[in-house]
Structures are given as structure tokens and as C-alpha cells.
Symmetry: C2
């Protein structure tokens, strides 16, 4: 497997042959694991409740390069013996474990951390053993304090030291063996026990005995757990979706990849880093849908890009009106020059004209009379689309073909895939596919488009998707947003489901956007871009605040771009592009906004005002958003200042990065006022230091 | 294995040969489980998060005979197909599963219940499969509603019905096969589809097709989970501990089993059902402890019963001054006549004179010079006790010998054991021992005396102990009690750790009891007896409100009965025996107090007043206790009346079972006043019905 550390990371961990040579005292190589540890009475240590652990280790948790993994476990034994615990971890390509001593947290819970430095998969587990020398030493000290005669106890310690010396010697560590032998002898011979105990501490002899403790005595957690390590972009990304065919500079013309290339600066200047294209393949003619999803297409209607395939080709072909595969490769490269990565939509379904229908009718669902079934979600019919049957008899060939589709586009330079409707295909397909493909490139990113049931969404994320669509579009009130983001960032979900927040998509124009006008788009954009380290918009409909729905009570766009070419008035004055560019710049400049794990909500006495922070090291961002697109709202927000390193009795500065204004605040309650006619949000950076008279010369 | 249903239970479940013969439509035998289900794409169903499940199925949960087990699971698949789910359960002695259809709870969660009717172990698991006929039928109905032409769909249903017919036929169910064939034919032939659909519903044909669905399509949870079924007494018991040697009617004489037999009515009249005796074995002479734990015993000091063994015998012998093994058997029988079961203390340790020390020195810990180690908890020394080393080389023999100790006393009629300090022996010993012994008698009850770390206590409970000592003695304030009992009854602990609440023991005289006087004993008794379905007291010290400690800041009794004979003034007027008898009678008469799972705390505006309810069916008991042994306390308690079936606007009766008083309450807020000089507690039974003028003739 290829290993890449593309988005940063730290130097490779040190793995050295023996304790003697260890450079970092916190790290030592693991001794060979005992083959099948016996469950006998000598295995008195219990290792359980190791976290993170998903479904008993069935699925890996997720991190990106450079992130820490904090591993906790209950480790204990009967009785009162001392024990030592280690976390073991390794990249799956490495044969040897790196061992990190765990520290006790109290109540028999232990913790250690490691940082994932490379793409791919790391494994980790926990082991512990009783440490008789530490128990002996602890009791020796107590005996000395109680004024007992400890001479009968010294040979016990000597015996343990001698055993450690034997193991060191067997491992060829002569110097250490010598020191341990000397220790054993010192304990055996006459002399003041107090002085012997002091010598033990002074020369770090104790840790030497522990280092050479009996490796066979370790009890290891019954499972090795895994963490998948993605590129940083899997966690922190700003997506922009557009239809390439709508990028022609001439009205009525079908846009091409070349037109799109000319359009790249527009997207790049807004600060996005992923440019996501709906399917770029030939579009079927049979049962092609017309404007506004009409059953019959007019002669010039371009059809839905999701009705994939015609006689010229299917999922590995490019729609002739867009250009060629060669043009696409050039586009990928041009996008790179603008800091944009192209994400491709993989929609595993076929128009009636797709070559698969003729070549592989066995891959489709048929009625008893042999007629193939088009897609349905009864009573809705999609006559222009035939679903593939991934559980058909010939599924192996179909799965391999599916893999080859992804591989084809990887060869053209694509490393990010947005997968359409993954929830209507078997979980096993995704688990196999994502792991097979990541073998070639562990930097692949898969976004699951599955607005489906919570358990199914979670399972897809476990099966290998790096990011997930989610219910953000329909969470509008304060209570909804707080409780949903609590679920995403504070429950087990945080270990494997990375939300990507989309205020709109070509299929989803929410009522909030339909009726809230420009302020609603501003609000939803700030929420998406700051609640989510990853977010995306479907543009230019979004920045142009397109809010017209096809019919009341529905979420489809009027004159949807899915069925017709568009020419967007990009230079319109009320476009949000400058605002979006500012927010994306704030995101790049503030590490706090590049993670979801630090999200915390705080009290505001107005139910229309949402107040939350994100944090990364010393970078603290406080976001205050009015959810009301219609009226001015004001209220008092409350912050636990000491938790941000701010003194409750000293002034501090809040710097509004959106409006470029600075305010002096003092105390934990502060007043805010938000006007939908301006910008109904503050994105504050908290700054601790405020200068007082004492900072200036004239005060002296 | 023997199977016993000692404390009630229900009729054995019905297990019949095929769906045709099933008496209860909710129960059907499981088809033969597919050998090793493939993980292929056809296995689209996911079964996960099955609850209850401890540590991934490593340990069983616990119930008593007659209790329900509610099994929940997430069961779902990709796509939109309908599925069916079953819970499977069986007693471990039965080869065949009983299958119960699970009902959907929403959000892809399913539930079914079964009742454990017999002692021993039950297994349970969950399986689900896609049900194509239900999917087809659902879509057929939608198509009909949408006015679509459904004729092309009918052969699909016919095909599924024919497949079901084939399976019924293969199983020899001719009548059912015939009905299914007729159905298939009906769907194949011409006619009004609406009438066909109606016929399907009317004749319960749908469930017949489902019953004969493809058994190979089931996906089963990867683990079989277990529940240990104990006697009801494992959940509901009132223990009384006394020292037999203190039961002589003559001052200064060593009490005997015969004296104790005469003492049984005293204990029985207080309403206890378990009489627990400290160790009854010969007591060592060497290093025997004197009064108040003095290092040297006087010539007449009887020594601690926990210093077990002398030249006449060890753990299988009876202290000569108590009587003989024969006397003990008679005592067990006499106790039974009084409704009392004898619980024996098993303390796995030896006095220096125990025969084991000579016969099996290899079972003890020795220093390098060969000298054996007495018990220590540095710097404390127990020179009169040598611990056994259960991890010694010869541990197999020692474990077998330990087992034989329990077996010996089982042969004398003992079925309840209180185990001393189990936390200083390997967990593996207990797991092996309790399961081995329960093979002989699944009605055995083991109480773990382990006032040790929370994780260790929990692990002992998982390893097989039926009941556990716990931190109740040290939980005195409202916050402490509420949060501790929340932990015991609302977290995972409730599935396997049954608390037994002891306000005092021979080793524990809490400061609350030392300084609170008689009201403190009343308060702690009501708390123990009503918060805990199982509780115990060490008497007669408890009912006589013995509160004198050996020294300030310590919990040992002054002139502790552990080291001397006592003669208790049982007839003293201020004894709590009448009060205790009343509370124990209330416990027996109110099923609400016989479980811990229904415990709920409610608001009282006075921090000294605790308010909680327990419930069993229509029996609701409301307990209100003042925690202040010194001052009168009053306050307003708040109850969510509708949850108890009480109308907020109608009067209801609260019947104080302690004081035998009736009060009329109305509304959810009511006033209470508690006086430590009287009884600082109410034990109310809530009674819904209050007669009004409309209930009497003269109103008409």
C-alpha cells in the first residue's frame, strides 16, 4: 500500500529494538505478544471498556492526519497489587507495536494518547500486568514509615530484581543486566534498609526493574481496534456544486469543460476548495425528462445528468457536449492551479440507453416476464432511470465493474467522490469498495448523499464514507440546531460520522430559504460554514439567493437546473459572493472553525439567537447568529469566561471578523443585537489581551 | 442439570413442530439456523445494538424467576424493503429456540419480551430478514391507490407465494401448501386486482406467506446472549446477621446452635427471611486476638470467628462450643420452620492452626526463606489470619478444595452464602466456582462482601455473585442517595448488580449512627428496607441502637462482638424490633417494595427530606424520609399524579402504613412534616379511589 502524509503530520514514531536504546522514555517496543494467553488464575488483570471502540471493534473510528487518538480503558485486578498499563499502537503496514505507558485517571480508568501521522489505518489496543516490584516497594515504604523491621522483606525484592536481570541478560542487554544484578545483591546484603530504598529511587532502578518485568504476564484486550486516517480535507472542506453545462458565456449554449475552466476563478475567489460536479456522462434520450421534470422532453431539453448513459457510453464516458476525457483531465489540473479539487458524482444507475442494459441485462431487476424495472419510489416513477441490482446472481462482476468506474476517474486525477443514493445499495458493497479503493489511494474521500434514516446514515459512515449528508437543511430552530449538533458532536457518532452541511442542493430548497429572502441565505450560510468544519452550497443558485420553488409545500426548484441549461447573472449586486469569500477566509485563518469536536453552545436569553464557540488551542471563535430573517433581535449572551482563559473582572476584546469591528466586553453577560437587513451574525474572535493605562509609558 | 422453578413462574413455553400447529400466533419454532450465513450481498439486513448485552455478550445479565426480559435491537437494511424480525430464546437445557416476532419502536429499533420461567440460564438473540412479499404488497397497495395498472406486478406476488408453497410442502404442511398454491394461482389468473388484494388481507394469507418465507434469508446477531435466572430471593430478601455464640440465655456462657434455635422466633417475628451467621468453624489459638482487637487474647477470650481452623478442623468443621454438624443441620431445619433460611459466611482464610497450613503449605504465600505470610494491609497486620494464595502453582487442587467447602455446606442444607472479601481472590475463581456450584443447584445465592473499588465490585457481580454489598452505609445526604441509587438502578449496573443494603455490619458503625441516636437507626432502617428490595442488619446491635465506637473517627464498635461474647438486652423498651417487624410486613404486603427497578425520586423543597416511589403493577408505595435525626423537618413534595393514574383535580388517599394513618391529598404539591422524636418517615400506599357524595344513596 502507498502511504502518504499529504496534509501535514508529525515525524514518524520511533521504534527501536530494546528498552536500552529507547530515545523517548515514554515509548518502548512491545515484547512479543504471548501466543494465546491462558485464562488461568495467573491472568488476574482485567482490561475492558476500551474507548474509542465501535460495535465491539467491528468498525474503525476515524481521524485525519495529525490528530490525536486518546485511548481510555478500565484496567484493574482483584486485591491490592500495583499494576502497569500500556497502550499499543501501530500503522497497519508496520509489524511492531509502539507502546505508550498509560496514566491512571482514577476509578481504575487509564489513558494514553497517540497521534496518527500517516494515511491509512492504525491499530491500537491496551494491555496491563501486575507489577510485583512496585507492590513490594510500596509496601516496603509503608513498613518503613510504620517503623517495622523490613529485613525479611528485602530478599523478596532481590528475587524480583534478579528475575529482571535474567530477562535483560537473555535479551543481550548486558549493562542493564549488570545494574539489576547489583541491585539484587544490594538488597540481599546487610545494611540500612532505608538507604537501600533511597538508592532504588535515586538511580531510577525501579523503572529498570519494571521495564524488564515479565512480558508473559501481560493481559491484552481481546481485540485490536482500528482507526482510519484520512486527509485533513476529510474533516475540513468547503464545497461548491455547479452544473458545468450552465457555464457557457453565451446564452442558450451548452457549457463545456473549457467554459468551466474559465469559470474557476469565480469559484476560487469565494474561497472554496472542492468543486463538485453532478454526473458528467452522456445522458439518455429514451424517456428523457423535460423542463420541470416533465414526462416528455422537448427537442432541445438536455435531460437530467443523473439519467446516465447513451449509445456512446456510460459511467466511464464524458457527455460529448461537455468535451472529452482529455478535456476533463485538463480541467482537473486547471482547478488544482486555483486551489480547487474536483469532486465527481458517482450515481450508480442507468438511463434506458446505457450500454449496460444490452451488455448486462442480468445486472438489472426484472419482472417474471423478463421486463426490466425502472426506478420507482411508489407511486413515483423514474422512467428515465434503471437501478442496478447489486444483489443479483452476477453481483461479483457488477461489483468489480463498479470498482473499475471509480478507478477510471481516479486515473483522471479524481480523489474525491460524492456518491448518489448510497443507501439503496448494500452496505457490504461500500465496505468492500471503499477499502479496496483506499488500498490504491488512502487519501480518497467519499461523501455519502443519503438523506435517509439515522441508523442507515450511520451504517454508511461506518462502512467507509468519509463525510455524510445529514439533516442540517431541516434544522432551523434553536432547539433543533442545538440538539442535533449535540447528537453529531457529543455522542458516539463523532467517532465515525463527519457531517457535511448543505443549506441547499439541486433537490432541496428548504421552506426557510423559500420564504426568508436574502437574510435567510446569509443565516444558513453562516450556520453551515461555522457549525460545520465541512460544508457546501449548490451555486450559483445559493449566492444569488434563488428562492423560487416549483410549487408550494415542495422543495424542488422552479425551473430546476436539473432539467435545463441556466445562465446565471453572477455579477448581480445583491450576490452573496463577497460575504461567502469573507466567511471562507475566516474559516481558513481560524483553526477553531476547522474542527467539529470543540463545538459548544451557550445561553442566550433570546430564543431566536444561537450562541456557540469553537476552539483550537488558543484560537477561540464565538459565533452569534439570529435565526430570524425578518426582524431585528437582541439579547444577552452568557459565557463561562474562565474556560476561555478570560478573567471575569477584566475587559477583553471581541473582534467581529465578519464586520471587522472590535468591541470591548467585560463580565460573562453581554448584549448583542442582530439586524437581518445588515448581517444577522457575528463571528467573533476572542482576544484576551486588552491594554490598560499600565501598558503605556506615561503611566510610569 | 436440575431445573427448578422454586419461587413461582409461568407455564413452560409452547414449542410445536411447525407453523401449522402453533397455538399462540406470537410463537413459532425457529427454522433450522442456516449453517454459517454467508456475508455476501444477499445478507443485506443489519442486526446490531442488541440490549441487554454486557461487554459484548461476555457476561450474562440477571433476572429472577417470573421476570420479563425486554430485548431491543436495531434491525434495518439498505433501501426501502420491508423486513421481519424475531427474538429467539431458549432455556440452555432446551435444544430448540422459541421465536417471538419483534415489534417496531420507530427509528429502526425493534422490541420483544420473554419471561424467564425456570432457574438456570436462558439464551437469546435476534434475527431479521427482508420480506419481499410484504414489500410487494405495500407497493401494490400504493400502486392501486395511485390508479396504476398493477397487472404486470401480480406475477411477482404469485412467484413469492409459490416459493412459500414449495417450502410448506417440503415441510409436510400440505394444507398450508395448498392454500399458498391457490393464492399463487389466484394472482396469476385474470380478475380484478383490487379484489385479489382484498382476498389477501381477509384470509390472513399474507401472514401465511411470511411464515413460510425463506429461512436461509435470516441474518442473525453475531452473538447468543445469556441471562442467569435466580430464585426470587436473590432479588427480594431481608437479612439478619447475628453471632450464634451470643445467644446463650446464661451470662458468660458460649451460645450453641441449640441456644440459637430457641432464639429463632425473636428473629422470625421481626419478619426477616435470611439468618446470616458469621463463620461457625473452630477458631485458632495461635495469635488469637483479644477484646477490642488486642494483640494478646485473655485465657477466656473466644477470638474472631474469621480466624478459621484449629487442630480439630477447618472450613468443614463446626466450632466445638457451638455444637456439631448434626446440630447445625437441625438448626437449618428449625429455621426453615420459622420461614428463615440460614446463610453461611465463607471466609477463605486460615488461622495459624488450620490443618491446611501443615497439609498444604504450598497453598500459602511464602517469603524466599520459606516463612509463610500472614494477612496484611500495610501497615496493618492480621497475625491471626493467613490468606490462601489462589494463584499458587497448585491452584487447581486449592480451587477444587474450595469448591468442596461449599459443597459440604450445601449437603447440610445451605443454599445461601455470604462470601467474605471476594475481591482479594481472582475473578476467575468466582466465575468458575459459582457456575460449577449452580450446575448442582441453580437456586444458590451468593452475596459478595466487597466494600472495594466500583469496577472491582461490578466485576464480581458479573462473575456470578447474586447480590453485592455496596456504598449505602456511607451515603447519607439527599444528593448522595439520589445520585448513588440513580447509578444502581438506571445505568448498566441494574442488569447484573443487585445491591443488598446494610446500614451496619460488625465492622461498620457509621458516624451517622454513632451520633444520630435512635432516630438515626430509624432513618437508616427505613432507607435500607425501602430503597433496597434486599437489605440486612447486624443485630441485636442494630435494633438496640448500639452506637458506641471504639475510638472517635473510626467505625469499629466499642467492645466489638467480633472478639467477645455478648448478652444483649433484647427486651429493652426502646428496641426497634416492633418497628422493624412493621416495616418487614409492609415489604411483604407491597410488591412495589420487592424490586429496585421501579425506584424514582421526586422533588421536595427541603434538602433534608427524601421522596421516592416504587411500583409494581397497581401497587404504588411513596416513601418520605427525613434525613435529619435531630430536628423536625417539613416541606412540600411534588408528584406527577397522572403517572400514577391519579387525576390532578380529584382527591386521593395516602395511607401511611407505618403510622396506620390515612390522609386525603389533592393536587401534585402536598405538605409533609417529620419529627425525629416520632417516626421520621412515611411509607405511604397511594390509593386512587376516594368516595364522594355521589357514592352514597342519599345523594340520589
Amino acid at each position: 500500500m502507498e502511504k502518504k502524509a499529504l496534509d501535514g503530520g508529525e515525524a514518524a514514531s520511533i521504534r527501536l529494538p530494546g528498552p536500552a536504546a529507547k530515545a523517548d522514555p515514554r515509548r518502548a517496543p512491545a515484547p512479543a505478544a504471548p501466543k494465546k494467553p491462558s485464562a488461568g488464575p495467573d491472568r488476574r488483570v482485567v482490561v475492558e471498556k476500551v474507548r474509542p471502540e465501535l460495535d465491539g471493534g467491528r468498525f474503525p473510528v476515524k481521524r485525519v492526519v495529525g490528530e490525536p487518538v486518546a485511548v481510555d480503558a478500565d484496567v484493574f485486578a482483584d486485591g491490592h497489587d500495583e499494576l502497569v498499563c500500556f497502550m499499543l499502537y501501530r500503522h497497519e503496514d508496520d509489524a511492531e507495536w509502539t507502546r505508550v505507558p498509560m496514566r491512571p485517571l482514577g476509578n481504575d480508568r487509564w489513558r494514553a494518547e497517540f497521534t496518527v501521522a500517516e494515511l491509512g489505518r492504525y491499530l491500537y489496543t491496551v494491555e496491563g500486568r501486575l507489577e510485583p516490584f512496585l507492590t513490594w516497594l510500596r509496601d516496603l515504604k509503608k513498613r518503613l514509615e510504620a517503623g517495622q523491621d523490613v529485613r525479611p522483606e528485602l530478599p523478596v525484592g532481590a528475587q524480583l530484581a534478579a528475575a529482571a536481570a535474567g530477562r535483560a541478560e537473555a535479551a543481550g542487554q548486558k549493562t542493564q543486566a549488570r545494574r539489576l544484578k547489583d541491585l539484587a545483591q544490594d538488597l540481599e546484603t546487610k545494611g540500612d534498609p532505608r538507604e537501600k530504598a533511597a538508592r532504588l529511587a535515586a538511580a531510577e532502578l525501579t523503572s529498570l526493574v519494571v521495564d524488564w518485568g515479565d512480558p508473559a504476564a501481560f493481559v491484552r484486550h481481546s481485540r485490536e481496534l482500528a482507526v482510519t486516517v484520512d486527509r485533513v480535507k476529510a474533516r475540513f472542506s468547503a464545497w461548491y456544486e455547479l452544473f458545468p453545462r450552465s457555464t457557457s458565456s453565451k446564452a442558450g449554449l451548452h457549457g463545456t469543460f473549457k467554459d468551466l475552466a474559465a469559470h474557476l476563478p469565480y469559484v476560487a475567489e469565494m474561497g472554496f476548495d472542492v468543486l463538485y460536479l453532478p454526473p458528467i456522462h452522456p445522458i439518455g434520450r429514451t424517456h428523457r425528462k423535460g423542463r420541470n421534470n416533465a414526462l416528455k422532453a422537448g427537442p432541445n431539453d438536455p435531460g437530467s445528468p443523473w439519467a446516465i448513459g447513451d449509445e456512446t457510453g456510460g459511467h466511464k464516458a464524458v457527455h460529448p457536449e461537455l468535451g472529452t476525457v482529455e478535456d476533463f483531465r485538463k480541467l482537473v489540473s486547471a482547478a488544482q492551479d486555483h486551489g480547487l479539487e474536483i469532486a465527481l458524482d458517482i450515481a450508480l444507475q442507468c438511463s434506458p440507453d446505457h450500454p449496460y442494459l444490452k451488455e448486462h441485462p442480468e445486472w438489472f431487476k426484472a419482472r417474471p416476464d423478463g421486463s426490466l424495472r425502472y426506478a420507482e419510489n411508489q407511486p413515483k416513477k423514474y422512467e428515465d432511470i434503471y437501478p442496478l441490482d447489486f444483489t443479483c446472481r452476477d453481483h461479483k462482476a457488477l461489483w468489480e465493474e463498479t470498482k473499475s468506474i471509480f478507478e477510471f476517474w481516479m486515473q483522471q486525477g479524481v480523489r474525491i467522490f460524492r456518491v448518489d443514493n448510497p443507501h439503496t445499495k448494500p452496505f457490504a458493497l461500500w465496505e468492500w469498495l471503499t477499502s479496496e479503493l483506499r488500498r490504491r489511494d488512502p487519501g480518497l474521500i467519499f461523501l455519502a448523499e443519503a438523506f435517509t434514516r439515522p441508523k442507515v446514515m450511520a451504517r454508511l459512515a461506518k462502512a467507509g464514507f468519509s463525510q455524510s449528508y445529514n439533516y442540517f437543511p431541516w434544522r432551523n430552530s434553536k432547539w433543533e440546531l442545538e440538539s442535533y449538533f449535540h447528537e453529531l458532536t457529543r455522542t458516539e457518532l463523532k467517532e465515525f460520522l463527519r457531517p457535511n452541511l448543505w443549506p441547499n442542493t439541486p433537490d432541496i430548497l428548504t421552506e426557510y430559504l423559500q420564504f426568508g429572502g436574502r437574510p435567510a441565505f446569509l443565516v444558513r450560510h453562516v450556520l453551515a460554514a461555522t457549525l460545520g468544519a465541512s460544508y457546501g452550497i449548490y451555486g450559483p443558485a445559493f449566492e444569488l439567493c434563488e428562492g423560487a420553488a416549483r410549487e408550494p409545500g415542495h422543495e424542488e426548484y422552479k425551473d430546476s437546473e436539473k432539467y435545463e441549461l441556466k445562465r446565471w447573472p453572477l455579477e448581480r449586486k445583491d450576490s452573496l459572493r463577497a460575504h461567502i469569500a469573507r466567511v471562507n477566509r475566516i474559516r481558513r485563518e481560524n483553526p477553531a472553525l476547522q474542527n467539529d469536536s470543540s463545538l459548544r453552545f451557550f445561553r442566550c436569553d433570546n430564543e431566536q439567537i444561537l450562541c456557540y464557540t469553537k476552539q483550537a488551542g488558543g484560537n477561540v471563535v464565538l459565533v452569534i447568529v439570529s435565526l430570524d430573517p425578518n426582524h431585528k433581535q437582541s439579547g444577552w449572551v452568557e459565557l463561562p469566561l474562565p474556560e476561555f482563559g478570560l478573567a471575569a473582572d477584566k475587559p477583553y476584546q471581541v473582534h467581529d471578523l465578519l464586520a471587522e469591528r472590535h468591541y470591548l466586553w467585560r463580565g460573562n453577560r453581554n448584549y448583542v443585537e442582530l439586524d437581518p437587513q445588515g448581517i444577522p451574525a457575528h463571528i467573533f474572535r476572542l482576544r484576551r489581551y486588552v491594554r490598560t493605562e499600565r501598558d503605556f509609558d506615561y503611566f510610569l
